[in-house]
Each structure stands twice: as structure tokens, then as C-alpha cells.
Symmetry: C2
Subunit: 381 residues, 2 copies
Amino acid sequence: MTNPAQNQILGILGGGQLGRMVIQAAINYNQDIHILDPDANAPCKDIAQAFEVGSLKDFDTVLAFGKKCDVITVEIEAVNTEALQKLADEGKKVFPQPHILKLIQDKREQKQFYQQHGIPTADFVLTADKADVVSKKDFLPAVNKLGKEGYDGRGVQILRSEADLEQAFDAPGLLEKLIDFDKEIAVTVARNEKGELIAYPAVECAFHPTANLVEFLFAPAEISPEIEAKAQEIAKDVILKLDMVGILAVELFVTKSGEVLVNEIAPRPHNSGHHTIEANFTSQFEQHLRAVMNWPLGDPSLRCPAAMINLLGEDGYSGEAIVEGKEEAMAEKGVYIHLYGKKLTKPFRKMGHVTLLDESVSSLKAKANRIKELIKIKSNA
Amino acid sequence: MTNPAQNQILGILGGGQLGRMVIQAAINYNQDIHILDPDANAPCKDIAQAFEVGSLKDFDTVLAFGKKCDVITVEIEAVNTEALQKLADEGKKVFPQPHILKLIQDKREQKQFYQQHGIPTADFVLTADKADVVSKKDFLPAVNKLGKEGYDGRGVQILRSEADLEQAFDAPGLLEKLIDFDKEIAVTVARNEKGELIAYPAVECAFHPTANLVEFLFAPAEISPEIEAKAQEIAKDVILKLDMVGILAVELFVTKSGEVLVNEIAPRPHNSGHHTIEANFTSQFEQHLRAVMNWPLGDPSLRCPAAMINLLGEDGYSGEAIVEGKEEAMAEKGVYIHLYGKKLTKPFRKMGHVTLLDESVSSLKAKANRIKELIKIKSNA
């Protein structure tokens, strides 16, 4: 008769916008959430049932935090996986599992994992340091990635020709064949402990030319049913081969010849799924909750076409954030503004996002450009 | 360039589920909300930026609370309107305006207001006390309403024949002609300070046979376009004649002869609009926020058919709440559970609601009955 799950505490490592949107979903289920974040002003601070300031990378801090929770998850990969492993060993539910976080923390291991498990991905070679990259210059044009510490576009650069070798990363990394892709898409999959597995429809990403962050996203992706099926199958294959519980965003390249290759994965709610709050029957944030709490998974299908725009801090502005154009944008039909509660802006900082709903992807393209020009995050400084 | 509204504090008198759902909408706009509620465990306590325990009926408490806010609104009508009037006189924005709350607090004044302004409503006579009701027995069958202190079905009873006169209210009230209605519907309207005015599509209410609370709600209402237009026109007329800013739920009877009569009104988010969170382009909670903050109003139209079920505490159970059947319900497509964070249940207490989305109202009717049987709020005691 009783439902023991309803009194469990879910701990999240990280209290940024992803955690904030998970909490927004959790409120409807009376699901208490405890947050650990190094920033005392992190976006979750006012809405978590408990908010603790501390390092996500410190063994003792993460261990002590986790001991107070029943289920532990993350909204960022850069966390102390040894502490999480110890918590898992002691019987806590930790999803995604610590070994997956460890794998994701190192792009070299990630690529080798794909190779070993027959998951299609761009060809690559491992590189030990800058000299090693230079010695492998025949592999160019390539993407040079740092093994560790890359995030939000950092630690990734394109080396097109020998002239670019000067800036090669001088630390363990890899060179990945530069893919002349037709589209970049993403498929989110989720899996719970019972083994239920769902995949969201593919979305199409358009990246910011300089910041290497998703600028626009359109759902559904304009791809053939065959490519859609292939992308969903690959994404499901990745989460199964990882034996992962939780939500996994799989970013993929669609090549001009119709190949589908895994680019990057993120074992948590991801920027490519923000539109699901309004556009899908179950949002990625609620799905994450359902997956890690071992609740039944929700219907991932799309209710209507959508676009998503990241609201990045304008270049040239740092300081207390001012949102320009909010009311003009709110006056339009099908415009959903999400601000992340960050007091301070800086160039390209993720300050919020906007989801747009409309009849078709083509009408959304014009609307997305217009709304993007309307809303600007600046500061007085 | 700057948007001063973004740093304004919105104070809400009442921290129950309606306030809670307003906060859920406000998070997306970084809109800080302060709550005053007499219950230290009210549903808003963990998610408001500031949560103060105090009486909503005490002049000094409400005044002191309001002084710390820029805009003040309510989620319940039973508040100290003198304090609100003083705050308004001192330049605070108070929406709905205090005189409207005062009017709503007295059903006698409300009915006279309709009469004076040509708003169609059931015929009535004022009654001073029980003896006065008895002396007006020719008016039966009628609804006997207490002037003040009625809420959630309390203070309202049907007097069908002389035998019922024994239980007539012995305080100032009224007798209203019992309407042999075909349907009960509700239209929510919203208006901001700039004068923008929108109306939601009519919804159809089905009441619980004994608790006098909405049991099921279906959107859209199954009524003719003419009745729909008439209902929307009447609801707009009411908010305009009240000169009200905020959101107003207008409950209406549709008689067998096609008349549309105002039954009750509520100048706040209302049970008849809960489905708008998932079913409409703008939820009533966000609309309330937009209206009182003088932001542009949002599109009220329906995205797809919906039903809403109130989750009331089961009769016979009091104590720490246990939600039965939650996971079975979550496994179904288009089922959205909203729990209100109330630790303790009692018979007929509003503990949550469920919104259902589906292709048509007819498919929703079967689904609503099934889900209602599935989810039960009980306790171990």
C-alpha cells in the first residue's frame, strides 16, 4: 500500500540551471531534492529543500553529502567519482553510475569505448602531447580534443592545416577526423533500473560560430525516417552498452553520405533537450527524475514543432545582468522564456533559454532569428 | 534599456497550492516571490524566496508584510482588505484591488453588484437570519448562501422544500433560485494595468456529489459556439465592470433554455484552470503573474483537449499522507500529477490534482474515471 519512494531524498551534484529545471519538475511529485554546489548563489539555491555549498571534486565533501541522500545524481560530469563509487558500494543508488561518469570525464576513454563496442564514430588517434599531435599531422584536417577538463566548448579546436599545429593541445588528447557533416543532431535516451528504455525524437542543432555552444535547436530534425531510426537505434545502443541508468544525450553527425556517427554524449539533462519542457509530453528533466528514481518512464514524443534559443551573456558585458526585450518577446504567441536565476552575466555565459512553439520548423526559423535579436543579456558595466 | 520590473518583489497573501503553482511559473522569470501564510508548513514554504508565518486577517501583519513588497496579490480572498487598501493608498500595487476582494468576501454584495451592472445571474433575495429565510419560503427551491466566510463548498446549501428550512443559515445571507442547469462551465479572464484583456476557452465542471468541490473538469466545454461566445463576453464584462487587474475565474450556469448565468467568481487562479499548465499555451498561474506585474498577457488558447481531476484526501483517513497508485498512473501517456506538498491528509482536503491530455473529450472521460480510481490519498492512521 505505501509508496516508500515518496520520502526518499534525491541528491544532485551541481546546482546550476540543469538542477534548477529538475527541481521544477520534482515539485509536482513532492520529491525533495538536496543540492551540492561550490557557488553559494547557484541557480538552485532558493528552490532546493537543502542547499549545501561545497566542492564537487572533493572526496570527503561529496561523500558526506551523499550519505544524507537516498539516490544521488549529477547535473555536471566533473565530480569526484571515487566518492560516488564508495557511496554506491555502501548501497546508495548512484545514477548515472560512477564508472560512466569516469568514462565521460576522459574523451580518450570515451572514443575507445565506442570503438570497442562497435558504436559508429569519427576515426581518431590518441595523442600524448603537442609534439605527438605534430607527428601525426597526416591526420589533418582534424578536431583536436583534450582528454580531460573540456566543457561547454572548451578543450576542443579544429586543426585544419599544418599552420594550426602551433596551437595543438600539449596534454593527453586526441585527433578526430574532421567530419564534413550535413547536419548535427541529438537524440536523448533514458533508462531506469527496471530496464525501461525510451528515445526522444531527434533534434537538429545549430552552433554559435565562435562560442562553440548550441545557438539554435529545432525539433523535429529535418531528416529522413531512415536517418531518424538509425540515430535512435545508435543512441539506445550507447545507453545499453554503458549499462546506464538515467538520461543520456547523444550528439550525432549525419554525414553527406547518410552515415550517422556519435560525436559526444552527456549522461544528464542536456542543452539539446530544453525544448522538451513545452514541446514534448514528458520533459527531459522529469524523465531524468523518473529514470533515477526508478519510476515508470514518460512518453517522449513531440507535441508540436519547437525551437530553442540559448540566452548567452552578450560579448562585452560583465556584471549584474539586465534582460533586454523580455516583455516584447513575451507578447508573442508560443514564446517561453526561462531565466536561470544568475545575478551576474559575462560573455557567452548561459543565462537562460527560450523555447518557441509553432506550426512548422520553417516558420520557427524566422521566429527564432527574430526572438534572438530581441532578447539580449547585458549589464550596466 | 533596463527593465526595472525584474527586481520587483511580488508578495502573495497565502502560501497554499495556488501560490505554489504561481511560484513554479515565476521561477522561469527570475521573479522573486514572498509569501505570507498562517501555516508554517504551507505548500510554498520551500520554494518561496521569503516565507513568513502570520495571519492573513490581521491588519498589522498584512501591512508589515506588504511594505516589504512592490506588488501584492492573493491566492485566497479571506484577507485583511483594510491593510491592503492602506498599502494601495501608500503607492503599492495591489492586484486584485482591495475593493474587489471586499466585494468578493460578501456574497450578498456580489449578487447586488451583478444586479446593478446588468450581469446575468440567478434571481435572489437577501436574508437577514434564519427567521427571515423561513418567511421567504415561497422562494424555494433555492440555494441558501452565507454572506461571509463561505469557502470550498462551505456556507452553501440547497433548500428544496419547507422540510429543509430547519437548517437555514442563521446569519446574513441570501436565497438564490435553484437553477435547473444543463451544464456548469467556467471562463477565466485576465487583465493587466495597461488594459489588455484575454479570456480562456470555457471549461466544463463536474462536481463531487457530496463534497461540493470540482471533481472533474473537461476542456473544452461541450457547448455551442454561441454559448461559448456568450460566456466569454459575460466573463469579460464582469472583469471590466469590476475594473479589476489580475485573473478572474467566472463560474457560470448554462440553463436548459440556453441562458448563461454567473454563479460565483474568484479573483485569483482557480481550480477550474489547473489544466492550463499542460493544456494551454499560457497557464493561469503564469497569466496571473503577467497580469499583476503588468507584463504582456499570454495566449490563452487550448493546445489540446484536457481533463483535470482533484486529488482529495479519501474520506476516513487523517494523518501523514500516502499517495497510492502514483506510479501506475505515471506509466500512462498524457498523465500529469501535481502534488501540493501537504504532509497531512484529511477527508476531502485538496492534496493535489492530475491533468490528463488526450485526443478528445470523450476519450478523456473514460481515462479520467480510470485514473481517479487509481490514485488515492490515504494515511496509515
